[in-house]
């Protein structure tokens, strides 16, 4: 048997008379207080405490039933909260008017006062309390179908945990109506339980605090804790074992979810169908849908560092068994790899992904429902017309190698052009199977610009002037809008100088000539473009450049805010400036979809700037 001391704190609660202690506040529902304390905990009351070294990961999976449908483990919850609170970004978010207002509503202020009183009673602040009460881990588990939830805290400081529970139960008693007994206390093995409404239960067993919304679950947790041999438990579940082995990476927090109960219940049914009726979603996230279709479990990891946060989602997946209709996205035997990100300086965002556009188009009948197929077939016919009668799927898209890239970059404007709303340049980069096919794309580009000119001319708007050049190995067809008539350079259309460029087998279709040329020049230094290892798709965003482009659009953002929030100009400016300052604190954001032989993962990494 583990070395667990007996509890005496519940006895003290039983003996105390509480009726006159809290005066007129005693009619306040206890739920309000608990909710407020919880809200304050997650809402960001900040206290300065030195960050302690992170503790080693712990394990609470032995506490929960073998058929638990989820399990969350947080190794050091207090340090994680403290680290997050110390992010400059968090401080900026706290000063957002909405958050500031929410933290100063009368209910929250009352809650803060109550929390302060509780802290002074215990002699420690809430973060220290959390640090010592859950210093050896916070564990949450339960059964989705039975709506059973169990929580366990393993404390470093048993004495403090004991006092905290005792004090909390006293407060609950005092806050209850005089004619109501809020909870029953009863002995259970070496400990005692406080039972609320015959269901929710709190129990302390030495340095362990157990909570559950179902008494039976809590007693089973207590039995496993107290027994020499805990018997069959979650960690014996084959599904859990596999998830732990394959997805647990010693992160600060780890969540396991058994997907079978979710699948049985019909909750989030769309997630498990493996199909979507949205072609855009399929093209971007079809791989995830494919993996989720049959995955028995999934795991999430959270890593919190002083200057970054990483979230990883992992799910089992058999690369060998990728169905033919999804090979366009995952590659043959799941080996499709995204092209390496282009090193174009100053990019706001880049997306690189392995995608065989032709394979996608030609497999539409196997991917989508009838109505979507009908729409795509109609588009197919129209696109074939634009491309001079050549079949869009089997000839136009088939001329592209698998692998597409999107580059977004801030742009500079020519003299006299100063659009009120500044839109960054955006380019699509692809490689041709054969450079000779460039001609077909160039002609089609010219046809499209011609159609656009006809439409714009009909509306008395500026038209695009096309120019074709060939220099330094780059073949370029670029369009330019020129301010004329009643149109000055402030209109949104002057963000665009649509262009198509070819360099060797690279094709760049860009919203601006400058970006098309810049990427074309860059591709000269690339041989056979290297691919990113194991990445199927990568999105990389540079926070500084993003905030710069947003800052250039401050007037438009202020206008939006005035219209959407009815604010006056000064209020809107304050709001927008705060948003911009907050964004500036995000250095990079990367989302990486990776495929391995037996696992698919989505990794999000966000790094922050120091103030």
């Amino acid at each position: 048997m583990r070395d667990l001391s007996h509890i005496g704190d519940f006895d003290r609660v039983e003996r105390r008379s509480y009726r006159d202690s809290w005066g007129s506040n005693r009619n306040r529902p206890v739920g309000v207080l608990v909710a407020v304390v919880f809200a304050l905990t997650i809402g960001g009351l900040r206290l300065s405490l030195a960050q302690e070294a992170k503790s080693e990961p712990h394990d609470g999976s032995f506490l929960f039933d073998e058929n638990s449908s989820f399990y969350l483990q947080v190794n050091d919850v207090a340090s994680a909260i403290e680290t997050i609170l110390n992010y400059p970004l968090t401080r900026k978010i706290e000063s957002l008017p909405e958050i500031s207002r929410a933290l100063n509503t009368p209910e929250v202020v009352v809650g803060r006062i109550a929390l302060g009183l509780w802290e002074s009673q215990l002699g420690v602040d809430w973060l220290t309390l959390l640090k010592r009460s859950a210093g050896r881990g916070l564990f949450v588990g339960g059964q989705y179908e039975q709506q059973a939830l169990g929580i366990s805290l393993h404390a470093d400081d048993e004495e403090l945990l004991k006092r905290a529970i005792s004090s909390l139960l006293e407060v609950i008693q005092r806050q209850s109506p005089p004619d109501k007994i809020p909870f029953q206390v009863e002995a259970y093995r070496s400990g005692k339980l406080a039972i609320f409404d015959n269901s929710a239960t709190i129990g302390r067993f030495g340095s362990w605090l157990l909570l559950s919304n179902q008494r039976d679950l809590l007693t089973r947790m207590a039995d496993r804790l107290l027994d020499e041999n805990p018997g069959t438990c979650l960690r014996d579940s084959p599904s859990f074992k596999a998830a732990r082995q394959e997805t647990y990476r010693s992160e600060d927090a780890w969540l396991y979810v058994d997907l079978e109960p979710l699948r049985r219940s019909g909750t989030a049914e769309q997630l498990f169908l493996g199909r979507t009726a949205e072609p855009g979603l399929e093209f971007l996230f079809g791989g995830i849908l494919e993996a989720l279709r049959s995955a028995p479990w999934t795991g999430f990891g959270l890593a919190i560092h002083a200057d970054r946060i990483g979230i990883t989602w992992r799910v089992p997946y058999q690369a060998e068994r990728v169905p033919p209709e999804r090979e366009y996205l995952l590659g043959t035997r799941g080996l499709g790899r995204a092209p390496a990100l282009l090193e174009v300086p100053g990019t706001i965002a880049q997306l690189s992904m392995y995608r065989d556009a032709s394979g996608f188009w030609l497999n539409k009948e196997n991917l989508f429902p009838e109505n979507v197929i009908a729409n795509l077939t109609q588009s197919d016919s129209q696109l074939s017309t634009v491309f001079g009668g050549v079949d869009f799927g089997s000839q136009i898209l088939a001329a592209l190698q698998p692998g597409l890239q999107v580059v977004i970059k801030e742009q500079e404007y020519a003299e006299g052009i100063d659009p009120e709303m500044k839109i960054p340049s955006i380019a699509l980069v692809a490689r041709l199977q054969n450079p000779e096919q460039a001609r077909r794309f160039r002609i089609s580009f010219q046809s499209l610009v011609g159609l656009l000119n006809l439409a714009e001319g009909g509306m008395y708007r500026p038209q695009i002037d096309l120019l074709s050049t060939r220099e330094n190995g780059i073949q370029m067809t670029s369009g330019t809008y020129t301010p004329e008539g009643g149109y000055d350079g402030s209109l949104m259309i002057f963000n665009f100088s649509p262009s198509i460029a070819f360099q060797n087998d690279f094709m760049i279709i860009s919203s601006t000539t400058t970006l098309a040329r810049e990427i074309a020049e860059h591709t000269k230094s690339l041989g056979d473009a290297p691919t990113s290892s194991n990445s199927n798709a990568i999105l990389a965003i540079d926070g500084r450049h993003l905030s710069t482009i947003l800052a250039e659009n401050r007037a438009a953002l202020v206008a939006n805010d005035m219209l959407e929030n009815g604010n006056d100009r000064k209020q809107s400016e304050r709001q927008v400036d705060l948003l911009l300052e907050s964004l500036r604190l995000i250095r990079t954001l990367t989302i990486d979809l990776r495929t391995e032989a037996e696992q698919l993962s989505l990794e999000l990494d966000c790094s922050f700037a120091r103030e």
Binding site: M421, Y460, V558
Partner: protein, 445 residues
């Protein structure tokens, strides 16, 4: 007898200058106001209140705040956003009479961004309407005759001497200046010749002398080598012109009911005597016995814009104007998007089984924007003994300032009962106002 209706009204013990009348003035000469603003008008007295309504204090600062917004919206080429922008102006302007009269002219010279599809052109037309809203009518008509948005809307961008375009000429006579029955088909054809060579190129008006028919035209028995500006002058000198404009002003500012010719004829004469000075004639209307009589009080159905902006101003709300815009589109009145060249029909056409429900939903949507835990501007500096008493007084306030006709006593009692069960003021208003919106009198202005 009829002439007396346009003579100045004076408050009297039988017809006192009180909240009901001050609210009537704010609704018709603007979009309503808060209880506090209406009480301030009452305290000013009738003459000063009337003068204040016509003042433009604070307009310069307001324009400085709104002008950068215009530039931003025009650059986006999203005419829908211009509608939101105009709603914001209506909600916040310190000179509601100017904005309301501009809106009147927008309905009169109806032009839809749906067809014009050019934010800059729509904004230019808006500015033209606002510039002349309270000025003389003739320069406004001269301006609108050259206005690219109007000419695009009426397919009149090309007007060649060999093939005169009659669209604008027809609407100028029928809708804008005279009304049906006061001209002949020949007048339309001759008028169209006057406007030949008036073109729109790259959304700018231009006069093309090569396409102008400089021959002799005969309009209403007057002959000469008239151009477009001459033609406008001839049309406005027609006896029907003053009657037509006076009738439309009375219908917009006073009553949805038909007004017999004898009743507004004196107003038409005043309009002509004052060289079609709209500001002066509006001052006559707003101070007239007609405006303050039962012929006008509560004799209009609130249009969707009046309903939405009225509530926003009543509670001094910060609402999402894009959302409000979407709801107004569903109710059939979206600024910048009138349904056709005749503008909005108004009156009882605003309400049918479907729009009635949508109007209640709009009220619900807007009152939800009242900040929680706040009594808002309804919270007056007064001492009430209990929440119950506060609720009753708030209901009375709302009835005074919003209802143009007091609801039946039994309905008021039920509202009081509902209010007494609804808790704090803001919560109470959120619960009571949608119930109020189900009362027919709620929708009268």
């Amino acid at each position: 007898m009829a002439a007396n209706l346009w003579e100045p009204w004076e408050p009297s013990p039988q017809e006192p200058w009180d909240r009901r009348r001050a609210a009537h003035l704010m609704r018709r000469a603007g979009f309503g106001g808060t209880v506090r603003q209406i009480d301030e008008l009452v305290n000013l007295g009738f003459d000063k209140a009337l003068a204040m309504i016509r003042e433009s204090a604070g307009l310069e600062a307001f324009e400085a705040e709104m002008t950068p917004l215009e530039k931003s919206l025009v650059s986006r080429q999203e005419p829908q956003a211009l509608a939101s922008w105009w709603l914001l102006r209506m909600a916040k302007t310190p000179h509601p009479l100017l904005e309301k009269t501009t809106f009147f002219w927008h309905g009169h010279f109806a032009t839809s961004a749906d067809k014009v599809a050019d934010s800059a052109a729509m904004l230019r037309q808006y500015r033209l309407l606002r510039e002349h809203a309270l000025g003389r009518f003739e320069p406004l008509v001269q301006g609108i005759s050259r206005d690219p948005a109007m000419l695009i809307y009426l397919d009149s961008t090309d007007n060649r001497k060999t093939r005169p375009n009659e669209n604008y000429a027809r609407e100028l006579l029928e809708l804008f200046c005279l009304g049906a029955g006061n001209y002949s088909e020949r007048d339309i054809k001759e008028l169209a010749r006057c406007f030949t060579g008036w073109e729109v190129r790259q959304n700018q008006f231009q006069f093309n002398p090569h396409q102008h028919d400089s021959g002799i035209k005969t309009i209403f028995d007057q002959s000469g080598p008239f151009g477009g500006d001459d033609a406008v002058g001839i049309v406005l000198r027609h006896p029907a012109a003053a009657r037509h404009i006076a009738r439309k002003l009375v219908r917009f500012f006073c009553t949805d009911d038909d007004v017999v010719d004898e009743e507004f004829q004196p107003l038409a004469e005043l309009l002509r005597e004052n060289d079609f000075d709209i500001g002066k004639i509006l001052a006559v209307i707003l101070s007239s016995r007609f405006f303050w009589s039962e012929k006008s009080l509560g004799k209009k159905v609130r249009g969707p814009v009046d309903l939405a902006i009225g509530l926003i101003r009543l509670f001094d709300l910060n609402a999402n104007m894009n959302d409000v815009r979407g709801r107004l589109a569903g109710l059939g009145q979206l600024p910048m998007f009138p349904p056709n060249v005749k503008g909005w029909e108004g009156g009882t056409s605003w309400i049918n089984a479907s729009t009635f429900v949508e109007r209640i939903n709009l009220v619900q949507f807007l009152v939800e924007r009242i900040p929680a835990g706040s009594a808002g501007p309804l919270s007056l500096a007064r001492v009430t003994r209990s929440q119950d008493e506060e609720s009753r007084r708030v209901i009375e306030d709302l009835i005074d300032v919003w209802f143009a006709q007091r609801p039946p006593t039994e309905t008021v009692r039920e509202l009081m009962e509902l209010a007494s069960q609804a808790g704090k003021t803001a919560d109470m208003i959120k619960r009571v106002l949608p119930a109020m919106a189900a009362i027919p009198e709620f929708h009268l202005a």
